[in-house]
Amino acid sequence: MSNFYYRTESIKKDDIQNLFVGTSLDKEIIDAFKSNSPTILEGSRGTGKSFLMRMAELNLEESFNEERILPVYISFMASTLLHTTDSFQFYNWMLAKIIRETLKALRKKGIAVNSYATSLIIESESNVELIEEKLKNLVTLYESSYKNPAVEVLPNELPDLADLIDAIEEICSENGINRISYFFDEAAHIFRPEQQRQFFTLFRDFKSPYITPNAAVYPGVTHYGDTFEMIHDATFKSIERDIKSEDFLSVMHELVIKQSDEALQKQINSQKELFNTLVLCSGGNPRILLKTIEKSIPLKTQNVENTIRNFYRSDVWSEHTLLGNKYKGHAPIIDWGRTFIEETVIPTLVSRNTERLERSKPESSLYFWIHKDVPKAINEALRLLCYTGIVRKMDSGVKATKSQIGERYELKYGCVLAQESNINTSSSKIYNNLKLDNFLEYGQNSPVYSTLQLGSVFSEEDSVILEALNKQMNEPITILDITEFQKNKLLEFGISTIKELFETNEDDLIKNIRDIGVVRARIIKNAATAEFLEYLSG
C-alpha cells in the first residue's frame, strides 16, 4: 500500500529531494527563490508552494560552503492563532519569529552558540557579546509588545527594523556570509487584509544587500498596503500548472510514481488513460491528485469514474464550505460562489460543450469571463474560489463581446468532467478540443450577481460582533477611499456614514445624485463594501 504525502510538512527533510520532480516551471521558481531578487510565489492550496520553498532551502544549504548564502525557512501558519486587533503587534510577532528562526539557522551552521550551552569555558569570555544574546535581546522586546495586548507599547521603546537589519548585516560580514535568504511560507493570511498589509510592508522594508525575502502566498491576496508595489519590490511567480502544457502529463506521472509502491506503479502504467484522466481532473494539484488516486485503487474504469463523480461533485467543495463555518462572516460570499459555479457556470459549460463538440470544428471550454467592474463582493467570492483552487484566474485585461474588458477564469477540469455520463471517453474529447477564446461571459450587471446579499450576514446571537460591526459601520464616509467630489455628493444626498451608504443600493445613488452614473455608483458602493468585508476578515 502506497503511503502518499499530502502535505510537504509531513515529509522528512531528508526525503524531500528524493520526491522532487522538476518541471521547467518548478526549476524556474526554485532559481528565482535562490536569486538575490525577492520573489513572491502564488498558488492555491496543495499546489506545492511549500515543497518548492523547501527545495530552494535545501539547495542553498548544500551549497553553503561555496556560496555562503544562508537559507532561513519561516512558516507564518500560526498567525491564524494570533488574535490581536493591533496591527503593530502582528508586525512585531513576525519580527520576533524571524529573529528566532535566524538564530536557529545560525546555530545549525555553527556560527552562533547558545549561551546556556557553552558550559565548559565561555564564562571566562563574558566580555564577548554572543550573537545569540544580541538577537535575543531584540526578540524579548518585540515579544513583550504582543504578548500583553492590553499593555500599550510605545513604538519608540522598541528596536527599529533597521536595528535588526544592522544586526544581521554585522553577523553576515563578521562570519563571511554573503546574504541570508528568507523563505516566508503561509504568509499574508488570506482572510485578514490588515495582516496582508503588515506582511507586505515588512517584506518591502526587510531588505539589504545581505537579506533577500521570499514568500509563498495564496491567490487572491490583494491587500499590499500603501508602500508595497509588486512590480518594483518583488519578482512574481505563479505555480498554477497549465494542463495544456507539453510536459504536464509526464511530470505528474513521475510525481505520483515516486510516491507509489511497485503494485500501484504497475496499475498506473497499465491504465495510463485512466490515470491521465485523474491527472487532468486535478488541474495539476498534487494533493488533490494523490487523494483521488488513493480513492480509485484498484485503478479500474468504474472506480475512477466513481471517484471523479464523488470528489468533484461534492468532496472538492468540502474545504470551501468549511471556510464558511470557520469564517462565519464570509459564509454568504462563500455560499454564493458555490451556487454560482454549481448552478450557473457548470451547467452552462456542460451544455455548451455538448453542443459545440458536435460541430464540424469541435471545441470545448472550461473558461468563464467576468467583467472588470463587477461589485466588490463578487470579486471577493471569486477570490475565495481561487483560494480553494476550484477556479483559477488565468489572465486580466481579456476582451469579450463589444470589446468589454474583464478577467478570464478556468474552472477545475474535474468539476466539468464529473457531470458527464461517460467520464473516461468524454475526457479525451473535451481535453483535445479546449479553446481558450471559447468562454462564458458575465458582464458588469449580470443578473447572477443580484443573488448575493451581504446584509443578512450575522445571526441574532452574534450580538457582540454586531456591536463591534455597528461601531465600524457608523464611521463617517470621509474615511473611505473615494474622491472628495464623491464624498461631497454623498453628503449632499444625506449619506454621512458607511452604514447609510452600505444600505443604499446603486440604483438609488444613480437616480438621486446628479453626476453619479453607473460607473461612479459602483465605485462608491464598492468602497463601502470593502470596509464591510474588511471587518468580516478581522
Binding site: N65, R107, K109, V113, N114, Y116, A117, S119
Partner: protein, 236 residues
C-alpha cells in the same frame, strides 16, 4: 633535558592537534551539535524551574565533553559521554513525573536504570505515560521507543567495549571517518528523540509564551507528526 615520557605525550598532543583541525573543519557537525545543545537549553529555558532540571544542565555538559572528545579523536569517550547525555535527559523526563523517586534518588535510596526508563508499561514512552501527558501521541511513541533503544544500544557498544568496537581502536590517535559519520548520524537522531520526549511530557502544559521559546525546534524536528503540527496551529 626532556624526559622520554614527556616527549611521548607531546607527540600525542601533536597527533591530537592534527585530528582536531581536520574534524572541526568538517561540514555540518559543529552546527548539529549546537542545535542539539540548543534543544535542551531552550526547553530548559521554557520549563518551570524545578530541581530535576539540573539533569538537563548535566546532559548539556556531557554533550560538550562528548564533542570535545570527538574533536580530539577520542571516539570511545565521545560515544560514552553522549550516552550519559541521553540517560540524563531521559532521567529528567522520568523524574519530572515521579517526584517521590527523584527525592529518593537524591537521597541515594533509589536507583534509576535504563530498564525502568524504557519499560513498555510504565516508562517514559509507554502508553501509560502518553495517556497521562499527551494522549494523541500514543501511537507515535512506540516508534520513538524503538529508536531510543537502538541508539542506546549503539552507544553502549562503545561503553561496554563490545568486540566489534575494538577493531577501530588500533593504538594510534587518528581521524576515523566512519566513526565520525556514525557519531553525526546518532546526533541527528538524538535531536528528534529529545524534542519528542520534551513534547510528549510538556507541550500540553505549556503556555503560548513558553511554546514560543521552543517552537522552532519542534517544527524543525517533528513537523511530520500530524498531531504535533496541529497542536502548533498547523494543518492536517
Amino acid at each position: 633535558m626532556e624526559s622520554e615520557s614527556k616527549k611521548y605525550y607531546k607527540r600525542i598532543k601533536q597527533e591530537i592537534d592534527k585530528v582536531f583541525e581536520e574534524t572541526i573543519n568538517e561540514d555540518g557537525l559543529l552546527g548539529e551539535i549546537n542545535d542539539l545543545k540548543s534543544i535542551i537549553s531552550d526547553w530548559n529555558g521554557a520549563l518551570v524551574k524545578s530541581d530535576e532540571n539540573q539533569l538537563l544542565f548535566n546532559s548539556l555538559e556531557q554533550i560538550e565533553i562528548s564533542f570535545t572528545n570527538l574533536l580530539l579523536g577520542l571516539y570511545r569517550s565521545a560515544f560514552s559521554s553522549l550516552r550519559l547525555s541521553l540517560e540524563m535527559v531521559c532521567s529528567h523526563i522520568y523524574f519530572s513525573a515521579n517526584k517521590l523517586n527523584y527525592n529518593e534518588w537524591v537521597n541515594d535510596s533509589f536507583d534509576i536504570n535504563w530498564a525502568l526508563i524504557t519499560c513498555p508499561d510504565n516508562g517514559i514512552l509507554s502508553h501509560r505515560y502518553a495517556n497521562a501527558f499527551f494522549k494523541d501521541l500514543n501511537k507515535d511513541s512506540g516508534k520513538i521507543l524503538e529508536d531510543v533503544k537502538f541508539i542506546y544500544r549503539e552507544l553502549s557498544e562503545f561503553v561496554h567495549g563490545n568486540y566489534k568496537t575494538w577493531e577501530h581502536s588500533i593504538p594510534s590517535i587518528k581521524r576515523h571517518k566512519d566513526l565520525h559519520e556514525k557519531y553525526s548520524s546518532i546526533v541527528a537522531k538524538l535531536k528528534r528523540i529529545y524534542c519528542y520526549l520534551f513534547v510528549l511530557r510538556y507541550l500540553q502544559e505549556l503556555t503560548t509564551d513558553q511554546v514560543s521559546k521552543v517552537e522552532e525546534h519542534i517544527t524543525s524536528e517533528l513537523n511530520d507528526i500530524e498531531v504535533i503540527r496541529i497542536a502548533l496551529g498547523g494543518e492536517k
